[in-house]
Subunit: 358 residues, 2 copies
């Protein structure tokens, strides 16, 4: 607290990201990073741009990247917005599109940055409870609102909402923006990007941090009809002209050129996820069906917090949220097959002498 702070600062409850440990000998399954490196083409593109031109500002509009994303998704580049990670893209969207005269709606169990953005921009919101199986019930969103946002698949549950349900939401509130946060969509979901030209109220955000193995480079994007993108550009250009640096610009662009590498890495993660899901189910865990690069699971006889601590002692870090409804769940990122096997072995030890729920 300080007399120099603005009134807003006193009221903020900042987001707490997952731990980024500074030692190397851990199996890090806590922040949904990709266990595989970025495409060699990405590293090559960055290396080529690591030269004296770093003295020059990047293109403030990141046109090269916007065009690559537009081409990849069959859109026009005026339908693409890019930012310094999808968190920055979401922040601008909250300020530009989701701040309205009625409360924003999002699930009670969801990405915990959403209420933080609401605090930052003074946006009223209502939490809409997921059902007992952690699924979104579309009819619960039939209420006065200023907009809707949810991750799809949801975080930290991993559960996917089908496009048919997203269409229902879009048609239920045609005058409000529905923001589908697809950070994890490439691990098994169908993207709502195919609906962008049909629905003027649809904004879809994605990130290169997960499926494209570029968490370290901070690039995210949103697609929607040009009038929605215009709003984001107006806020961005009132905040920071050059959010994407030269190396991120070229590295991210290169990522969209190596489709085979991308598909292969996604498929490996999906396969590992299915292996983990089967093994954990065998141990008595209830595992929420996941379309993401993580699983969300609870054990009927073991405390989630204690399991997380015991895994930590074995140098395996997973994410535990001490929050209502989910405080008996662990969110576990999908690692390499070797990491996955180490996790499975540790969990087997930790859940030995319990009775399977089956």
């Amino acid at each position: 607290m300080s007399q120099y702070w603005s009134r807003l600062v006193h009221s903020l409850t900042p987001y707490v990201p997952g731990e980024q440990p500074k030692v190397d000998n851990l199996i890090k399954l806590n922040t949904n990073e990709n266990p595989y490196p970025p495409s060699p083409q990405v590293l090559q593109a960055i290396a080529e741009q690591n030269n004296e031109k770093l003295r020059l500002y990047p293109d403030p509009n990141s046109d090269l990247l916007k065009q690559a994303i537009a081409n990849y998704h069959g859109l026009n580049s005026t339908q693409v917005f890019v930012g310094n990670g999808s968190d920055e893209v979401l922040a601008h969207a909250f300020q530009a599109l989701l701040k309205q005269d009625a409360p924003l709606l999002f699930p009670d169990i969801t990405y915990s940055f959403y209420p933080v953005y609401c605090g930052l921009y003074g946006i009223e919101y209502n939490n809409v409870p997921l059902n007992a199986e952690f699924a979104i019930e579309v009819e619960d969103y039939q209420q006065k609102c200023g907009g809707i946002i949810f991750p799809n698949p949801n975080a930290p549950t991993g559960r996917l909402l089908p496009l048919s349900a997203i269409k229902q939401l879009l048609e239920m509130h045609p005058n409000r923006v529905v923001l589908v946060d697809e950070a994890y969509i490439d691990f098994g979901g169908e993207s709502a990007i195919c609906l962008v030209n049909e629905y003027p109220n649809l904004l879809v955000s994605q990130t290169l941090s997960k499926s494209r193995s570029l968490a370290g480079m901070r690039v995210g994007f949103a697609v929607g009809q040009a009038h929605l993108i215009d709003a984001l550009e107006r806020v961005k250009n009132s905040f920071n002209s050059y959010p994407i640096d030269r190396l991120a610009l070229y590295g991210a662009t290169a990522s969209f050129a190596d489709e085979e590498y991308f598909q292969d890495a996604c498929q490996k993660i999906i396969n590992t996820r299915e292996t983990l899901t089967a093994a954990m189910t065998d141990m008595g865990f209830k595992v929420i069906p996941s379309a993401a690069n993580f699983v969300f699971a609870t054990h009927p006889q073991k405390s989630a917090e204690e399991l997380a601590l015991a895994l930590r002692e074995r140098k395996i870090i997973v994410r535990y949220f001490n929050k209502p409804r989910i405080d008996q769940y662990l969110r576990i990122t999908i690692g390499t097959d070797a990491e996955n096997q180490a996790l499975i072995n540790a969990l087997k030890t930790l859940t030995a002498n319990t009775t399977s729920a089956a």
Copy 2:
């Protein structure tokens, strides 16, 4: 305009950055970039980090860089805030510290992003006119205010305010934050950073874009007492957890390790600036005394706009602002000696047959 925009978006007047042309054969003296490349140690550090670890998030707190900046300036790392370019740092400072119940004060001729931030965050402001010689008159700031911000040296004038005057401002408004934006301080000014431990209301921002030749990497920072830095961290952590990517983190940190390269590049630019100032004065220009990597100059018989267009035809881009009081001035970035000579030759041709003001 769109029904989906928040009320704020309709009211914004975004910042317009200087042109970033996509062709290479221009002498680019319009956006105050450094004509010399970053230190080889910076490129080396980036190359070393351009590897599979890009799949991992960066340190959200950028501790390595904060410590390097703290060591460089003899501060504690809790007195350092870093962001995605000093524009992002400034944006957070406007929201966290400069939004108060009285108007913010800044010069009438100054960095044109300041009123844009005010628009973004709903901050009332008063412009305080510079005197006829484009200097800040400290006594004009003796008025009720919510804070003060100015660049030092000022942009686009290049004129420096001495530390004694900054102390007067700090003591005039001990309960308000005075933000000294030192984007250009390394080209001849004395930094106010030496006053940070003495004044709890002083925040100083700097950038690696100009004197450290890293405009392409987007890194800026602010220093002040820990209670001011805390406010910035709270806003940052409510906006984007990881604003500095892995390559920017290591590249920026390396920059502070190569003091000799840094000092040498700054001195070369200062020398070239003095050469340009003398040559332009000989041609009849009035050149405002500059402590920055640009000069701000007017010719008594030549239209600034026409000069800018004529230079452009000769493939030399400078910045022209069509704004009150400065619409007869050009802002010209200091280039290499060869670029400088080409500029001098062009200006000589364009001002031939005019009478020297002397």
